[in-house]
């Protein structure tokens, strides 16, 4: 890693910290809430993008992994070790990472058998697993069952959410631009051809799935420690669909698209509040329009910075 990069990264994190410091008190709390929810949504759509967009596998159970992260981290800070180090900011950070790891393990257990399936079948299996995870939470009294888990320390703020947005983005950006990331992209393009070029496709699909689940778990942990309350319904099928919409709307396989999708899906319903219940109609309508005129999503496979470069020749 070069010095230039180091400065860039430290600079970015400092910037996030400073912005957080300023807007934490200055901004209207409602707007701040939307901004933070958007950050969590960005982590979710970036992570799902790795599986649905980059590896080309259609997963419909992302909320389940988010739930694992949320419940594991919240159980650590609220139930298992109350009044301990986990109540402090670094302690919560650790709990959130452990939640992410737990989600990664869950992703491994789900991914290993189901990634042998393709297309619709994989979608159905992941949907099923997502629901199973939710129902498991529903039936464990220790973490609140159907009542939900309250009293979670409110230690996630603008800085931590956007810090993780930065980490997730950087991780995925670099992954895709490495040999291992190219192997994942090749699976999306042509699985058989990738295999015949010596890529162990099953292994890379599982890797993509585990990493994706890990970051979803992180998003879940941040969500829990920002809301202060979680219940199994926060991680329902509807939530999974919402994340899929972000990825599809933004553009499968595009990191900038994942940002755009997350922002649109989180912010637009807020802007449409003036239409009351009609916003539930306008939103799907937008999705239909996108699918008709730009089926590859806003960005397609491209990134925002590609638009500033010279277009590739097609002679």
């Amino acid at each position: 890693m070069s010095l230039r990069h180091m400065i860039l990264y430290i600079g970015s994190i400092t910037l996030i910290f400073l912005v957080g410091l300023i807007i934490q008190d200055q901004l209207n709390p409602y707007i701040l809430r939307v901004i933070i929810n958007t950050g969590i949504a960005i982590i979710l759509s970036l992570s799902l993008n790795l599986v649905n967009g980059c590896a080309g596998q259609f997963s419909l159970g992302h909320a389940g992994f988010m739930g694992v992260g949320a419940y594991v981290s919240a159980a650590l800070t609220t139930r298992l070790f109350p009044d301990s180090l986990f109540q402090t900011i670094p302690g919560t950070g650790l709990a959130i990472i452990l939640g992410g790891i737990a989600a990664g393990v869950a992703g491994y257990l789900v991914g290993l058998p189901s990634l042998r399936l393709k297309g619709d079948y994989l979608a159905i299996v992941t949907l099923g697993f997502g629901e199973i995870i939710r129902i498991v939470f529903l039936n464990i009294p220790f973490i609140g069952g159907a009542v939900g888990l309250a009293g979670i320390p409110l230690s996630a703020n603008f800085f931590w959410v956007y810090f993780w947005v930065f980490v997730t983005f950087l991780f995925l950006f670099r992954l895709i631009r490495s040999s291992h990331g190219r192997a994942i992209l090749a699976i999306r393009e042509d699985e058989l051809a990738a295999e015949l070029m010596g890529i162990p496709t099953a292994k890379y699909k599982v890797i993509a799935f585990v990493l994706s689940s890990f970051f979803a778990g992180i998003a879940g942990g941040l969500f829990a420690h920002y809301q202060g309350f979680i219940d199994p319904n926060s991680f329902s099928f509807i939530r999974s669909v919402e994340i899929v919409i972000m990825v599809v709307l933004g553009g499968m396989g595009s990191l900038s698209g994942a940002f755009a999708g997350a922002i649109i899906v989180t912010v637009l319903p807020e802007l449409l509040r003036v239409f009351n219940s009609y916003r539930l109609v306008i939103f799907p309508l937008l999705l239909i329009v996108t699918m008709i005129w730009k089926p590859s999503g806003l960005f397609g496979f491209r990134e925002i910075w590609n638009f500033f470069k010279r277009a590739p020749k097609t002679s």
Partner: protein
């Protein structure tokens, strides 16, 4: 029996009641160039699919450089050194021309997973090496100036060439070319055939070539195997094949 190159003996597979390939034998010493011909539906591509592990043979054995590769998964066989191209082009369409070649180099494990994330020194060095090597191969195949284009934007002939470039990037010991000249015009065909003979020495590979164009395949192969209805009906030098009555019968029917 020598223990170098690719040896295939008595490979058979049937789908339901249809015996697609029966007792397929092949001996491909290093640096040899052999042809595999036969009428449509003779089982040529099925033979390729068997050798590359896409289908698991019902019976028969395969060894590469003395090591058994029978029943191995396609990616393992590829890493062992047998690489193919496809009759109906199968590029990574949305990736750039250079990325197509870089994907193929992945199997040589240039660097670890975390090295790419942390952008270690090793990553920077190896990535640069990969790109340079990829560019060299693309230049060899005449695609040097197209490396940043999306591969689906290439012309048909260029896509065929990219398939070969991608296969070469894996540093194979055996290269299986499935109708590389299909759909090319006669001038492009001649160019491609010259290129294929050149590849053999430049990249030190043994080549097995499927094609329909008899004149061409006779011109460059040292040895030809003829398949019909899944069975080998003749083997020999191009001269022997040309005068073999069974081959003439298979292609033209009985007079």
């Amino acid at each position: 029996m020598n223990s170098t190159g690719l040896q295939v003996s008595n490979l058979s597979i049937s789908f339901g009641g249809l015996c697609a390939v029966k007792d397929f034998n092949l001996d491909l010493p290093p640096l040899s160039l052999k042809g595999l011909i036969g009428p449509n539906g003779a089982g040529k591509t099925t033979a390729f699919n068997l050798i590359t592990g896409v289908y698991t043979p019902d019976s028969g054995t395969m060894t590469l450089s003395g090591k058994s590769i029978t029943g191995k998964a396609p990616d393992q066989i590829a890493r062992a050194g047998i690489i193919r191209t496809f009759q109906n082009i199968r590029l990574f369409k949305e990736l750039s021309v250079l990325d197509n070649v870089l994907v193929a180099m992945h199997m040589r494990k240039p660097y670890g997973f975390l090295a790419g994330i942390l952008r270690t020194r090793n990553f920077e060095v190896k990535e640069k090496e990969l790109i340079e090597k990829g560019q060299k191969i693309l230049e060899f195949m005449g695609l040097g100036n197209r490396q940043h284009d999306i591969s689906s934007s290439l012309s048909y002939g260029d896509q065929r060439r990219l398939e070969i470039a991608r296969a070469l990037a894996t540093e194979p010991t055996v290269l299986l070319l499935d109708e590389p000249a299909a759909g090319l015009n006669s001038r492009e065909k001649v160019d491609l055939m010259n290129k294929i003979s050149e590849i053999r020495h430049q990249f030190q590979v043994g080549i097995l070539l499927i094609d329909h164009d008899m004149k061409m395949i006779m011109g460059i192969s040292e040895h030809i195997t003829v398949l019909d209805h899944g069975e080998i009906i003749a083997t020999g030098t191009p001269q022997q094949i040309q005068s073999n009555p069974k081959v003439i019968e298979a292609y033209l029917g009985v007079a």
